[in-house]
Symmetry: C2
Subunit: 249 residues, 2 copies
DNA sequence: AAGAGCGTACCGCTGAGCGGAACGCCGATG
DNA sequence: CATCGGCGTTCCGCTCAGCGGTACGCTCTT
């Protein structure tokens, strides 16, 4: 999967060895995960510390602030985030539920940001994290507007059953996607996480066909009725769409 | 400044050649900024593309989504961001002005996040960006609680005059910092950007001495009266402080 | 006391990385 | 239309940065 034969490859193998949940990893753990020789990991990790991509603590290594800073220079994601923020705020203020902004990356959703209050539903999504497309509202929206082949690739591939409600039948899923194109929204009902509901709408280019990103509102089963936020989400997404069209790209 | 003799050094020189404002840089520009041989930049940039840290476009290279994703795995910043979000939301909802969360990194402030609505004052701060400490409310708070030597280092060093209001007299600045410790807030009045006012408060560890981060509210001269948000900012920062103390680190 | 697992240090071999040079392609200039 | 400067790309032989097996010393656990 990764190219472990070049210095850069090794360096990245080490950096990517950190999962979203990991905070500090000891050298030995990095060796295990990267499957690189111990000496090598030691040296490269040392270099990475020197370059401010890793911090060295008493208990091991940790991704450093330098990396955080660098990552936020990525132009497209950052611009999207900055332009979207006001709309996401509006949406949050109107709903007081967890609001997500995500884009498609390969066959998964990547969360650009996640905003919420104290009462937010405990979702597994994390800023900068990934989730499968077939079991999230955000993912379904992004998939619905993705290219034919992209869509087919995901539907054909194995669809992980995350909860009893996860839709793993390609047929049903395909129908949901078709309906998403018609209505302009997608739903998730406890398909990725028990107890969670979600509505999402696409942020489109002016052509009305290409997705740039998607916005969603998530809440817990019980007090939360996703249908009642359908219009708000759609409006926010549409508004962001036109803003993007107006300014630069 | 940078170590250009190792592969990693070159790679980082290239990545860091992208300023906060740059979106796409052509090869030639990278060569100019990094002062590396053309052939070398070409090759390394190619490798970086292969490793999903750069995107190659028709007009040059661009920091890619892979980097964004990686950066957001940095544990400390991300945890801080996640735990802070609800408090920042509250603060925004109460004030409807631009809200910042920042930490100290070296002799500057790094913005972890920035949230605001449509009417937000056009501040130069950007998520992931840097600003000097001596002319921002966030910076003054962070500096006030930083170690003696750290504080001295900044005050001794050259203090850039950003606007006619920038305080560049170490004496006055030191008094402001002292006062910040007493009152628990710092102000900025058009010291970094004309037309902008700002209040900030420290997020402290339980010991009440060590700063972890700082929160601020920014608004435009005219409608915005920073004093009236002093309590709200202080409350938000304090609340975040206790939350951090409770959970994990 | 023995052992397992860790982080660190050493060091000689070698091919990955290096970068100067040359090329072909524009678009600006005269 | 000819020239030229700046661009991105490719090539290739030299060499030293990177490599990783080995060994050591430390701290826990058994």
């Amino acid at each position: 999967m990764e190219d472990r034969d070049t210095v850069l490859g090794k360096a990245l193998a080490i950096l990517r060895a950190f999962g979203p949940a990991d905070s500090v990893l000891p050298l030995a753990e990095l060796v295990r995960r990267t499957e690189l020789p111990k000496g090598t990991v030691h040296r490269v990790a040392g270099d990475l510390v020197h370059h401010r991509l890793l911090d060295k603590t008493a208990h091991g290594y940790r991704l450093s602030g330098g990396l955080f800073e660098l990552g936020l220079r990525a132009a497209t994601e950052r611009t999207l985030l900055e332009l979207a923020m006001p709309f996401l705020q509006d949406l949050y203020e109107r709903t007081h539920e967890t609001v997500h902004l995500g884009v498609r990356e390969g066959h998964e959703v990547v969360y650009i940001t996640k905003i919420g209050g104290h009462r937010q539903a405990k979702a597994p999504s994390r800023t900068g994290g990934r989730m499968p497309m077939h079991c999230t509202a955000l993912g379904k929206v992004l998939l619905a507007y993705a290219g034919e082949d992209e869509q087919a690739a995901v539907l054909t591939g194995p669809l992980e059953r995350r909860t009893p409600h996860t839709v793993i039948a390609p047929g049903i899923l395909r129908r949901q996607l078709a309906r998403t194109i018609e209505t302009g929204v997608a739903y998730e009902r406890e398909e990725s996480t028990p107890g969670l509901l979600c509505v999402a709408a696409p942020v489109l280019k002016p052509d009305g066909r290409t997705v740039v990103a998607a916005i969603s509102v998530t809440g817990p089963v019980g007090r939360f009725r996703p249908e009642s936020h359908e219009t708000a989400v759609r409006a926010a997404a549409a508004a962001l769409g036109s803003t993007l069209a107006r300014r630069g790209r």
